[in-house]
């Protein structure tokens, strides 16, 4: 069941009606868990089985780590829990990738009977809930968090359907207090949630799915397209991924808000970043902050004895993990490696940049930074989009400004540009003037609601209603 389906909208409307009729907070939580499990069940049985098993095991692991903290048993439980969660993720997501590469490697030595791949179905949301649970366990181990004893609260944290499929990777500290409250109908929640939903659907249906038509058709026959077409396609893909994932996150946050929950912000106008460091503070914030807290920081501390090199190693490892988190493909590894290289170069040139800032006007420096960051992200996302390293390199090699630009249907191209223009106007106004272009200050609800009604009209007019699923559902 996809968020951008009519079926889901009916499903969610029914959920809200029942949810707010339930008077007791325990029953409310139980209802939400049941709803989330139904949501998983709609995908496949395996996903349901895996998530239930993992959630129940980790509930007990959390309590076990806390109660046996000061002895060997506590340490054993902690490492066992970490091992089980990582193994679960590895088995479903990376096992076949590992075996395929191992077979290829053994093939070099004429090794016969290579191990067979399992072709397992990837349980939905596995990368997202595994990282959530790992964060929860580490926080308990580091005594930053008390384990949740109320199983309904804990299960709600793992299962909560708005964030289950593609995040945000929510922190337990943020979620638990909210899950313990009784939820009542609040006009402000519905209003804020509704606005997020409309804006999310706009990003997904008007921008991402429209651009996808062009990008998919170019990638389908990339060898037949000119250099300029591949260049335009690569630039458009940056907007597609942004609108797709940011749109999904806004829909997820909107759904959660209507149910009385505040999920963390996942995107803060990333295409207006002045550097790659800045970009990762704005893009997929729940993942980048997770990696920062649980991988980069501990590694930097571990390697601090070797100075700057230690920081570079920590950065590299962190971003390889970010890359491979997205999927079991070498293209994602290269995506991560590229981010690592860009960040290391930025760190190494930081002093020079500061010196330069004293000589060159800030607007030139910022403009150049903005452009450079966009170019580097565009290059990285070629690997992100390509089905294989070979294709990514072929696309990359073929890009130039020559040849005839493939426009598809001219109107399709224009629809994409209209969407991008609205998205960028929104982001630029918010970034520079700290003002949301869709928010009118007025005492009249009609005036405040009008921009959002217009967004719905634009969705109906130029949205793509038969588009595919969200890109990040694959992760």
């Amino acid at each position: 069941m996809q968020f951008n389906s009519f079926y889901f909208l009916l499903f969610f409307t029914a959920i809200i009606l029942f949810y707010y009729l339930i008077p007791n907070k325990n029953y409310q939580r139980t209802f939400l868990i049941a709803t989330s499990l139904f949501f998983v069940f709609q995908a496949n049985y395996l996903s349901l089985l895996v998530i239930c098993l993992i959630a129940i095991l980790n509930y007990f692991f959390g309590i076990g780590i806390e109660t046996k903290k000061n002895n060997f048993a506590g340490k054993f439980i902690f490492y066992l829990a970490i091992l089980i969660n990582i193994s679960n993720l590895f088995f479903f997501k990376y096992y076949d990738f590992f075996l395929e590469n191992l077979s290829g490697f053994l093939g070099l030595f004429n090794f016969k009977n290579p191990p067979q791949v399992l072709k397992l179905i990837l349980p939905i949301g596995i990368s997202f809930y595994t990282f959530q649970i790992l964060g929860y366990l580490i926080d308990i181990w580091q005594e930053n968090l008390k384990p949740e004893k109320d199983i309904l609260v804990f299960l709600n944290y793992v299962f909560f359907f708005p964030k289950l499929l593609a995040g945000p990777i929510e922190r337990a500290q943020n979620f638990f207090p909210q899950a313990k409250e009784s939820k009542y109908i609040l006009l402000s929640n519905f209003s804020a949630g509704g606005k997020l939903l409309i804006w999310g659907f706009f990003q997904k249906l008007v921008i991402a799915d429209r651009i996808a038509i062009y990008v998919d058709s170019v990638y389908h026959n990339f060898d037949q397209h000119s250099g300029i077409t591949l260049l335009v396609c690569s630039v458009l893909y940056v907007f597609q991924v942004y609108a797709d994932f940011s749109g999904y996150t806004d829909i997820a946050r909107g759904l959660a808000k209507i149910l009385g929950y505040d999920l963390m912000i996942n995107f803060r106008r990333p295409l207006l970043a002045f550097s790659i460091t800045d970009f990762w503070r704005r893009w997929h914030i729940s993942l980048s902050s997770w990696v920062n807290d649980y991988i980069y920081m501990p590694l930097s501390l571990k390697f601090r004895a070797i100075g700057k090199a230690g920081v570079f190693i920590a950065l590299f490892v962190s971003f390889i993990i970010v890359g491979i988190w997205h999927g079991a493909k070498w293209t994602f590894v290269v995506f991560g490696v590229l981010q690592g290289i860009f960040l290391v170069v930025e760190l190494m040139t930081l002093r020079k940049k500061k010196k330069l800032a004293t000589k060159i006007p800030a607007w030139i420096l910022n403009g150049a930074g903005l452009l450079m960051t966009f170019i580097l992200i565009t290059v990285s996302l070629i690997f992100f989009r390509s089905p294989s390293l070979k294709i990514a390199l072929s696309v990359f090699a073929k890009i130039n400004i020559n040849g005839k630009l493939f426009l598809g249907t001219a109107s399709f191209f224009l629809y994409s540009l209209i969407g991008i223009l609205i998205l960028m106007m929104h982001d630029i106004c918010l970034e520079i003037f700290k003002k949301d272009i869709f928010k009118f200050k007025s005492d009249y609800f009609i005036l405040r609601g009008f921009p959002y009604a217009m967004l719905v009209i634009i969705i109906l007019m130029i949205g793509v209603f038969d588009g595919g699923q969200f890109i990040y559902f694959n992760f």
Binding site: F6, Y184, S411, F445, I457
Partner: protein
């Protein structure tokens, strides 16, 4: 206290949902009516031709099919040869469901004497979705006979069509140029020529595949199409128009079409195997589409074949 607060918030919420819904309804009605008006006053372009074919033409011969029909059959050439009026109903990117819906709509108004139904080698292949039927959405309200076919897109189509804008989704930028400028009117009686040859443009030609999984809905639509023509005494010709092929073989679609043709005693003309057209990249724009030169050759040929058939 909490109950009172809840009650107040609920009333406020329903009031706002009602106001927002009303605002949406009015905006949807206004914008939708505008789009409907623009759609109706089209003087050329693909929407004009679909409406003309469905609601106005009284041509003796109708040509049905997807892009290969639209770009391969020149009505004037066929008309000169057969001394009958011809209209090309072909439409890019659609399948037999569209043809069946359109035929139902046309037969409510008049009966053509001859129908040429152009098919592609994988016309009946299993479809992931029927989204190409969206081109019929502007006729959903008026042509009730088409609804059961348009509803195949999804079970929520009747609800979605409550919106006045939805039937015109993604049409505005195609419609506006046809209002402002008459430049680019290249079609005559529905035919749209395509120029440039694969040879000159160095386009890599691809052979068709044999998609063995056939779609039961598409088979049913073709069966209904043929049955209806038989019932209404319309002479139906099934045509597989030329294809640039490296290797000639029978697809599951071709086998099924031959089977249905035998059932309804309908002639099938298969030009995929024809040496006059096969493998000549100067008369193709791409693997499945003849350019204007190719269309000229093909129109003469099909007109001759039909002429012979009519004489017999």
């Amino acid at each position: 206290m909490q109950i009172e607060r809840n009650k107040f918030q609920s009333i406020q919420l329903f009031y706002r949902i009602f106001i927002f819904g009303l605002m949406l309804f009015i905006l949807d009605y206004l914008v939708g009516s505008g789009l409907s008006w623009i759609y109706k006053i089209q003087k050329n372009g693909v929407f004009y031709h679909t409406t003309y074919g469905l609601e106005r033409t009284v041509a003796n011969i109708l040509i049905f099919g997807s892009s290969s029909a639209n770009h391969h059959y020149i009505p004037e050439i066929i008309s000169n040869q057969l001394k009958m009026s011809v209209y090309n109903q072909g439409h890019d990117g659609i399948n037999i469901l569209y043809q069946w819906a359109l035929l139902k709509g046309i037969l409510k108004r008049y009966k053509p004497k001859i129908i040429l139904l152009n098919l592609t080698p994988n016309e009946l292949s299993l479809q992931d979705n029927y989204d190409s039927l969206s081109v019929l959405s502007p006729y959903y309200k008026k042509h009730t006979e088409m609804r059961d076919i348009i509803n195949l897109r999804s079970k929520f189509e009747p609800i979605k069509h409550l919106s006045a804008i939805y039937p015109y989704n993604s049409t505005i930028l195609t419609m506006l140029p046809n209002l402002i400028s008459k430049k680019g009117v290249r079609s005559t009686n529905g035919y749209y020529p395509i120029y440039g040859s694969a040879k000159k443009m160095k386009i890599k030609m691809r052979n068709f595949k044999n998609n063995t999984n056939l779609d039961p809905f598409l088979i049913e639509a073709l069966d209904n199409f043929m049955k209806k023509c038989k019932q209404d005494d319309i002479a139906l010709y099934l045509v597989f128009s030329p294809w640039f092929s490296f290797e000639i073989f029978e697809t599951a679609t071709i086998i099924k079409v031959n089977e249905l043709a035998l059932k309804y005693k309908v002639p099938v003309y298969n030009f995929i195997k024809d040496p006059e057209f096969n493998g000549q990249d100067d008369i193709y724009q791409d693997s499945g589409h003849l350019n204007h030169s190719g269309a000229l050759m093909f129109s003469k040929r099909i007109a001759k074949e039909i002429s012979i058939s009519l004489r017999n």
